[in-house]
Symmetry: C2
Subunit: 441 residues, 2 copies
């Protein structure tokens, strides 16, 4: 076995969540909006009931979850507890989205600006709620600031000048990224030039812009949970092709846009499909050129986009040479039950055991550190303390050989190859996974 770099991983979770118990946001809300806030609080029971009816919430599971994790879940808003949980879980740093409690919504950001953030909200109240959360979040991030990157909520579908002002204010307060509504609903789609001032300020301030999954057109789904889950990843990803094809990344080459907790399994097909369209597929022979787009969409994707891929699946990792290793930002989704907390060390071993160490370093940390502007030197002592090493994932430095063919083929439609190639020469020997089951497939 060759010697290899077994130094600790800098693990950056690109998908964590924090939020106050909702009623505690009151001091962060201007007094004249307190009556509206009372109304919002009063609707909490109805929101939980609706979630239960759709099947997103299961009362028995909820009881067990809170009982088992009572202490850890206080890390949703308590910085000391949060550091303790991250350390134990193997995580060096984190990007913080809203809504700590995804089970009972007891920490929903005011006026619906958390994971239900959408253009369909009352846009005036949305800005009030966003400011309240953003102010509190800046306080949270002032503890252990080197390991936290707070994501400001900004309702850009409303007043654009106010949105730009809030982005500047958020940046000054110490926040480092911007979450926009995943759906514009009846507001202007994101190709609209009205948003150019938003993209401009985010480019100027190096604030990555992100959506997060959660919102979807639930009115169309009845109570069929499967429909919701089947397309809840599509809606927050949708802005990617709106921004690429409308030339936003030509006009704002430094802008970064990402979609969070929506998987990354769809990215290879998306890139293949868009590149082929741009490069002149037979089917496009009757189409006019794409004037606002100067290069293959995958080039914008690599330069301007990223995926907060959360708990990456084996199937997704197998496609990483098409997705782009630096585009896949792992996350533990702390403290949500869909995520890997508090078992991240075990999950990372299960999914990354045969992935080359240098690629693992990018996907579970360094790519996110660059995207979100962490100071890796300052993270080094935290990583030492957290102490998660390649050897802990079962890696030994010889992982690259089995993936050589897949790496060489890469994006086959750009490298002249015939079809995608998956690692290990796609031989069957020894790569059955009877011991892990469908949850990692």
């Amino acid at each position: 076995m060759p010697e290899f770099d077994n130094s600790p991983y800098v693990v950056v979770s690109s998908d964590c969540h924090a939020g106050l118990p909702t009623e505690e946001y009151r001091p962060y809300i201007e007094a004249k909006y307190h009556p509206a806030f009372d109304d919002f609080l009063a609707e909490q029971a109805a929101r939980v009931e609706a979630a239960t009816k759709l099947g997103v919430r299961n009362p028995e599971f909820a009881r067990a979850w809170f009982e088992e994790h009572e202490e850890g879940l206080r890390g949703g808003w308590d910085s000391a507890q949060r550091d303790k949980e991250l350390d134990a879980d193997g995580v060096t740093a984190e990007v913080i989205f809203p809504d700590a409690d995804a089970v009972e919504s007891t920490t929903a950001a005011p006026f619906g600006v958390g994971l239900t953030f959408s253009g369909g909200l009352d846009q005036e109240l949305a800005l009030v709620g966003a400011r309240a959360h953003n102010r509190w979040l800046a306080e949270l991030c002032s503890h252990s600031p080197e390991r936290r990157r707070g994501v400001a909520l900004v309702p850009i579908t409303g007043d654009v000048d106010a949105a730009v002002a809030e982005i500047r204010r958020a940046k000054e307060s110490g926040l480092g990224a911007v979450m926009i509504p995943a759906m514009w609903e009846d507001k202007a789609p994101y190709h609209d030039r009205r948003y150019d001032p938003v993209w401009a300020v985010c480019e100027e301030l190096r604030m990555p812009v992100a959506t997060h999954s959660g919102v979807a057109p639930r009115d169309e789904y009845g109570d069929h949970l499967g429909i919701y889950v089947s397309e809840v990843t599509w809606w927050p990803a949708r802005p990617i092709w709106f921004l690429i094809w409308s030339g936003v990344f030509e006009r704002f080459p430094g802008l970064k846009f990402g979609v969070t907790e929506a998987g990354c399994w769809w990215a290879p097909n998306l890139l293949w499909f868009m590149d082929r369209l741009f490069l002149g597929a037979h089917a496009a022979a009757k189409l006019t050129p794409f004037e606002e787009v100067k290069r293959p969409p995958s080039e914008y994707f690599d330069r301007n986009c990223f995926i907060g891929a959360s708990n990456t699946k084996r199937r997704e990792l197998a496609h990483r040479y098409e997705i782009g290793i630096d585009n896949m930002l792992w996350g533990n989704d702390f403290p949500h039950p869909e995520g890997t907390w508090p078992n991240t060390r075990k999950w990372l071993r299960t999914t990354f055991h045969d992935i080359p160490v240098d690629e693992t370093r990018r996907m579970i940390g360094l790519a996110a550190a660059e995207t979100y502007g962490f100071d890796v030197a300052k993270l080094a002592p935290v990583a030492e303390r957290v102490n998660l090493r390649p050897g802990d994932l079962g890696q030994s430095g010889g992982e690259a050989a089995g993936w050589a063919a897949a790496r060489e083929v890469g994006r086959h439609w750009l490298t002249g190859h015939d079809f995608p190639v998956i690692g290990y020469g796609a031989t069957l020997g020894g790569h059955r996974t009877d011991d892990v089951g469908p949850e990692v497939s």
Copy 2:
């Protein structure tokens, strides 16, 4: 080289188009709707202008297309010319959707019920237009009936009783399938029980139900063609997960639903994602069971769904063991320029040259023949005359070996394997495609 079955292929195109020059539909429309029909005809210029503005239509391409193919394009409505074109192109039989002219829309079915068929149309006029097209189409199919399967247009988003009656009438007139609006827009989504009488009659009469790509929420796209093309395949496929998760295929186990000309590259991820959800992913631990769904979604997909995959791409063929060979129905899209006509023989060779013959027989013909109820014995003499054989595709009977690993892995999440496997052991030797270019990738 072993001996192999070099008998002619029965090639069934699951995606062809026919339609009268629009004004010639007048005799098929009840007189009281003639004024409305005059209005529809008057809007034709505006429709072409809108298509040009979006970039779907390119005037120079259009001129060249009509000049070069003047005679063949008459096959859009002339049965003798049509047979001549199919024979020359290598096609034994065909499934016929509306709108022969996808370039200038000169054969648009009345009142928007062609490839712009949607729940957003005036539903009364939609039924009038559908009946007009259906009556004419039955006449077309009365010529060479053994090789034609006409698809009746039925606006099920309007009056359900009227829709059921039209389906029965269409069946009696000789049509063999039903096309429904790809988008319901402001009407009821397809999980709604109001549609049960439609599913029931289609099951009873063995009429497969299909959508066809074309409709999308263009109001959201501005003039950005890339956005339209990037998601125009998603909208017509959307009913698949609405029907599966709402238990339609439990209630109507004999119902067949398919999506046409929307590619099939998305199917592996969809099946993987839905099966994992059903089978109890970690992420679903907080979710209630799916009461209306009794088996993994891929089982319904295999039993009840199909994809009219049109001009299958190499990337799609490489994933056929995940998609399901009998779920991929090839088509030449005659007489649309996105399709392979009049070069289908060459295209089939380019894309299928290394695919096992028995699998090719299913994908380019027999699976469609079963789905759409063709009498294969009656097609045999046509296939003899058309005379397209495995040898003509460059096949020699030894193709299976290189795909053995991929076939064994199949749907890896159900077979206990780790990640997908692509054919040829995914070795690189000899499988570069420098000579074919991106149009087949």
